[in-house]
Symmetry: D2
Subunit: 147 residues, 4 copies
């Protein structure tokens, strides 16, 4: 079955604010397409670590969020998908700046979705981190399965 994009950036932002108030305070969806999403994580002082770098857990949150946004675009308003696996490689010290996360989904199945995320300090061309993320999708969703 062919997957088609169901939600655009505005619809996803509205949905996330509804089901998860505050989740998007520090994030903005820059772009959403079929199986892809770009999410900006705003610089915040509390993200800093000694040495002026963005904390690892902040980057993990960005990877997780960018993948979730890409997934919602494809499966629609489903609040109960949960991250089942995340791995991340820290490649370079991120600058004290916004970070952009580019997520690409490689599979959206009946039960699992898997994607990769590349993260860049705003304005940089070399990734500061790479991540892959798996979401478990509830089986009894209202929408018909997408596989």
């Amino acid at each position: 079955m062919k997957l088609e994009q169901r939600l655009d950036a505005a619809a996803i932002t509205e949905f996330l604010n509804e089901v998860f108030p505050g989740a998007m305070e520090a994030f903005a969806i820059e772009a959403v397409g079929p199986m892809t999403a770009t999410v900006r994580m705003f610089f915040r002082d509390y993200r800093l670590r000694p040495g002026g770098t963005i904390s690892g857990p902040s980057l993990m949150t960005l990877a997780d969020t960018a993948t979730w946004v890409a997934l919602l675009a494809m499966i629609g308003r489903e609040p109960l998908s949960v991250t089942s696996h995340l791995d991340i490689d820290f490649l370079r010290k991120p600058a004290p700046a916004d970070v952009l996360g580019h997520a690409t989904l490689h599979k959206v199945g009946k039960r699992l979705a898997v994607g990769d995320v590349l993260m860049y300090s705003d304005g940089e061309t070399q990734a500061c981190a790479r991540s892959s993320v798996t979401y478990a999708i509830p089986t009894h969703r209202l929408d018909p399965p997408v596989d």
Copy 2:
């Protein structure tokens, strides 16, 4: 070369407060031994997610911290080790409570240290998450290499 434990819980806590002020506000080192550490992450309201569960990034922070504590016990006062890789599997919804992270190091080499972390909601016997973490150790440390 045989590795021996260099720092105990009190010495590690003192060191972390020194090089990374605030890092241990929400954590306590419960136990440290050769190649192992148990770290408690205190429950905080800001860790909650809809459904009353502890957030994924909080668990990743615990995994990272527990591994760092186990590593410092073995290599001594070295502030410049950095996480190069972390992966985590979310197994069960953590309760709205403290979470305990038990880290075991499998290798502390000249350049890399690798460990596993099992995480449990306080009082539970089934893990809510498992993680493995790799730290890159600076090559020009004052202490002689431990490999």
Copy 3:
């Protein structure tokens, strides 16, 4: 629901030879318990790499097999579980010898099972590799779900 062990080493070996002829030619199940299994991978010349070390893919196969054995012990004769994720850290050069893989399952759910594997060259006390493995379990199994 409480999980109980359903198959012992002999029953698993018989089942694997039945559904996957040849799979156990190079492996022997040393021990099986609730949520654990120890599998021996016999030394074979074709596993060698330059330098006299066991190849990475051989160790991955051992990690995968040891987890599968531990899973079969818990869920019974189910041929259709498939590996959905595997990660491995290579810690030390394995000797040109048998390798033992100790698998521990942390979760056997309705849909996913997750375990860790530590691998040791026969006779060694320091792990040559660590791995974590996720199996996707078919939803329409004949046996009732185990979660």
Copy 4:
């Protein structure tokens, strides 16, 4: 420092046959560019699993090989780089056919190189697996470090 490609496909094939006889019997380098490589894994009967699918360890070997080829292109004739970490997500059953692995390096540092690999059954447009691979690079290489 800017990294530049040092070896092309023919030079890498020659080098691999030299240091690791037989390694490329079942593989062909299809393309090499700056920080990228595409490697074809030839179909072989011994790669089959029940159900007519390519085995997981075969795909792991492809991921590892494609990353190594991409790395050699950048750092030159260095036989002693070793895989330190590999993770793989199995997304779809691969067909009984050649599999193509597209590797992209995100970092080639002094000590570590990290890349992603997407794998496709020949002729397919949906990936059968994704992988990320870390190589540890020897510090005392003859060539100057590339970071």
